[in-house]
């Protein structure tokens, strides 16, 4: 197994000149590096991947904008009139007695931070002390023999992302990893080469026989169609899987918080209802006030109104209410003994009659007119007073009903408000909901599309088979093409054999990976009776199966997912034969409390058979984690800054 003996970093980012030694001092090949944020823990990981592969996949936003070279070194170079600074990382390893060093050097101009040509060197010294050096492409090939770049994430990884390995669309990476470790690449290359050879020979045959050429052209068109359909189908499969994962993930996030949108909608509906009821209440109160005003008048004046009506009715019945006769005029007639209508003198008889009329008209005609005019109004007032109780009941009933409805709605609004306030991050919850809904629609749509693409692909395959048969028949007829035809047939047969071997090898590796991952997970997991096994489906989608049979990779904790990732990694190391160290940056970043202790225990256990180098922030390297690691750790390094300019050991 390959392990790191030391890493030397020169002028690289926070590091001016530092050498990390990793001797194995006891049964645990466990190494801990602790440093505050910004000290350069992740850049140790970047230094390793840069040295081995020329990439820095874990740069933070701040580092991305800075040059690779250490700024303090740059300043010194300028002060000493030097043009360039050499950025260097050397990794010294051993594997079964063989010492191997990897060295990458990059000169950078101090003037404009111009990067010159990189040098990459691998030096291997065997047990017999024979040394061989590999440069550039050869060196890259050497690295890929031990730690293939395609699966570097399974040797050097970021603990922050561990728990996400099996969510989202990571399955494509898993498939690639399995492809690499099963060394099926070679077979795939041969298969592709065969395919190209067949096309070349068919074209040759086409030149010899135009008929064949025509059929070849048709085959070429149909093959493009088939390729297009296959690409579409693969893309759709990826999208469907992505949607599926997002739906599972968001459902998990929303567990117990699923009904926020419905609650909010109900809240708005009730608020609107309340507003309308309050408007109604305003109207009702207005009506009530008018009722009080009018009935105060009616009831207060009831007795006098009734009395007046009685008097009027009396006077009407005894004819005391005359028509509109001027009493004054009659008095004048009597006084002057003269009728002012005909002009004649009044005789005794006429005088008596006038006196009688005058006596009868006790009430003046003006008064009489007034009395008659107010009578109907007074009758209305009296009726209003008499209907008071009935009308009061009606209006109060409406007022109470409105109050009751308002009260009920206010209670429900309060309840909903309390429920809504339970949700701590409403914006995020709404986003999850929206995203889930969108992907549910997309999932359905893509499933329909994929059906259609598959059907079209099938039809194209049938057409292709038919054309190929036609081609074989045409070629068989032509003697000129006989030899070429034989070669094509042989190539096709070989290609088929290679394809089936390829599939068989992939399947075998997949089954091995499944078993080993299950075994490791079972050995390492702290919940011993919860999980049944692990499955890798045909799309290399990794799933964790509960003892009750259901899939639970989406619902297990971040710690358990991290453990799953670790188990898969260990299985991959074993199956691939690339048995190298594990370098994990902040391994317990996403793991909480008790599970941190569990996870720390696991890592310690694994380090008995494999070198593990880990970086921690002081918060992560908590008292509980320290308690597990400190007694067993082979090396512990504390990083500090020198006057905030570069990182050194404490």
């Amino acid at each position: 197994m390959m392990r790191f003996n030391s890493i030397e970093i020169l002028n690289y980012r926070q590091y001016k000149k530092l050498k990390f030694d990793f001797p194995k001092n006891n049964e645990y090949d466990l190494h801990v590096i602790v440093g505050q944020n910004g000290m350069g823990k992740t850049n140790i990981l970047n230094a390793v991947t840069w040295c081995l592969y020329g990439v820095e996949p874990h740069l933070g936003d701040g580092s991305r904008s800075l040059p690779k070279m250490n700024l303090e070194s740059k300043k010194e170079a300028i002060d000493n009139d030097l043009d360039t600074v050499n950025v260097e990382v050397k990794i010294f390893t051993e594997d079964s007695g063989q010492l191997i060093s990897f060295q990458r050097k990059l000169p950078i101009g101090v003037d404009k931070d111009f990067e010159y040509k990189e040098e990459f060197l691998v030096t291997a010294t065997d047990i017999a002390n024979n040394t061989k050096t590999y440069e550039n492409d050869e060196a890259i090939e050497f690295v890929n023999r031990y730690m293939p770049e395609k699966i570097r994430e399974y040797f050097y990884f970021d603990g922050e992302q561990l728990h996400n390995y099996f969510l989202s669309d990571q399955n494509a990476k898993i498939k690639d990893s399995v492809h690499t470790i099963s060394q099926v690449d070679m077979l795939t290359r041969i298969k592709e080469r065969m395919g190209k050879l067949i096309i070349k020979k068919q074209k040759e045959a086409g030149k010899l026989a135009p008929d064949v050429d025509k059929i070849n052209k048709e085959i070429s068109i149909v093959k493009s169609k088939v390729e297009r359909f296959e690409t579409n189908i693969n893309e759709l499969k990826k999208q469907i899987l992505k949607s599926e994962n997002i739906i599972i993930e968001n459902t998990e996030h929303l567990r117990g918080q699923d009904n926020l949108p419905e609650l909010e909608e109900r809240y708005q509906v009730l608020k609107l209802k309340l507003e309308n009821l309050e408007k109604d209440r305003g109207t009702l109160i207005k009506e009530l006030k008018a009722f009080i005003r009018d009935n105060k008048i009616a009831l207060s004046f009831y007795s006098s109104a009734k009395e007046t009506i009685r008097i009027i009715q009396e006077k009407e019945s005894d004819n005391s209410l005359p028509p509109n006769i001027d009493k004054g005029l009659l008095k004048k007639v009597l006084k002057e003994h003269k009728c002012f209508l005909c002009g004649r003198e009044l005789n005794l008889d006429s005088e008596k009659k006038v006196k009688k009329i005058l006596d009868q008209i006790m009430v003046s005609s003006q008064t009489s007119h007034l009395l008659l005019s107010i009578k109907s109004e007074l009758e209305r007032i009296v009726i209003e007073a008499e209907l008071y109780l009935k009308n009061k009941d009606i209006i109060l009933k409406r007022v109470r009903k409105n109050e009751h409805e308002i009260q009920e709605i206010e209670i429900e609004l309060q309840k909903i408000d309390n429920e809504i306030n339970r949700f701590t991050d409403k914006k995020q919850i709404k986003l999850w909901h929206t995203e889930r809904n969108e992907h549910t629609k997309l999932f359905k749509f893509n499933n329909q599309r994929i059906g259609s693409e598959k059907k079209q692909a099938e039809d194209a395959y049938v057409e292709l088979s038919s054309l190929e048969r036609k081609l074989e028949e045409s070629m068989a007829k032509l003697n000129e093409c006989k030899k070429v035809n034989e070669m094509i047939l042989f190539s096709k047969k070989s290609k088929n054999v290679i394809e089936s071997v390829e599939v068989e090898m992939m399947d075998e590796v997949k089954i091995n990976m499944e078993e080993l991952t299950s075994n490791y997970f079972d050995k390492l997991v702290w919940k011993k009776n919860t999980y049944k096994n692990i499955k890798l489906d045909e799309n290399y989608h990794l799933d964790l199966i509960h003892v009750d049979g259901y899939s639970c990779v989406g619902s297990c904790s971040a710690a358990e997912r991290s453990l799953l990732a670790l188990s898969f990694t260990l299985a991959l190391h074993e199956v691939s034969g690339f048995n190298s160290l594990l370098f994990i940056d902040t391994p317990v970043a996403r793991v909480s409390d008790l599970n941190r202790i569990n996870f720390a225990d696991v890592l310690k256990e694994v380090s008995k058979n494999k070198q593990i180098i880990m970086t921690f922030s002081p918060d992560e390297y908590s008292h509980e984690v320290k308690k597990i690691f400190e007694p067993s750790v082979s090396t512990k390094i504390q990083l500090v800054t020198e006057q905030e300019k570069f990182t050194v050991f404490n």
Partner: protein
């Protein structure tokens, strides 16, 4: 300003009552402000409140008066005259009715006290006043109506408000 020897051409109020009416406008007490209640109706309400008290003489008369003659509505006029008739010494000739000056003076004094009582109400919580007045109306109903005879057949009469509410 009216000459007391001339026939009155408006309903008058005291300056104090005018201030009370201004306050009613501001506070929209019991919706008695001018946007909700005519001046005629306000005067009727003040008279109704005043009926439970002793009329008080108008002092410091507000120059503009409250309502011009032509603007007094028929309901208010009916109430004014029914009060005079019920208080009249001679219910045979009803001479008081034809004495406009006397009629106006009497109802003005009635309303004068009424406005002061309204002012007292305004110093309390309006909601409390509403429920207090409803209780008073209940008492008035039972005292005046329940124990009196009706001028209509209660059994067959349909309340217009009930009809409106489909009760």
């Amino acid at each position: 300003m009216n000459d007391k020897h001339k026939t009155p051409d408006r309903i008058n109020i005291s300056k104090k009552s005018k201030n009370i009416i201004n306050k009613i406008e501001e506070e929209k007490f019991l919706n008695l402000d001018s946007t909700n209640t005519s001046r005629s109706l306000l005067f009727s309400f003040a008279m109704a409140i005043g009926l439970e008290t002793i009329p008080t003489k108008l002092e410091n008369v507000h120059s503009g008066g409250l309502i011009l003659d032509a603007s007094i509505d028929s309901k208010t006029k009916s109430l004014m005259y029914s009060y005079i008739i019920s208080e009249s010494k001679n219910k045979v000739t009803l001479d008081d009715v034809s004495d406009k000056e006397y009629v106006y003076k009497s109802v003005q004094e009635l309303a004068n006290t009424g406005f002061q009582v309204i002012e007292d109400y305004m110093n309390k919580n309006e909601n409390d006043v509403i429920w207090k007045m409803l209780k008073e109306l209940d008492v008035q109903y039972y005292e005046n109506v329940e124990n009196g005879s009706s001028i209509y057949d209660k059994e067959n009469f349909e309340s217009p408000i009930a009809a409106e509410n489909n009760e």
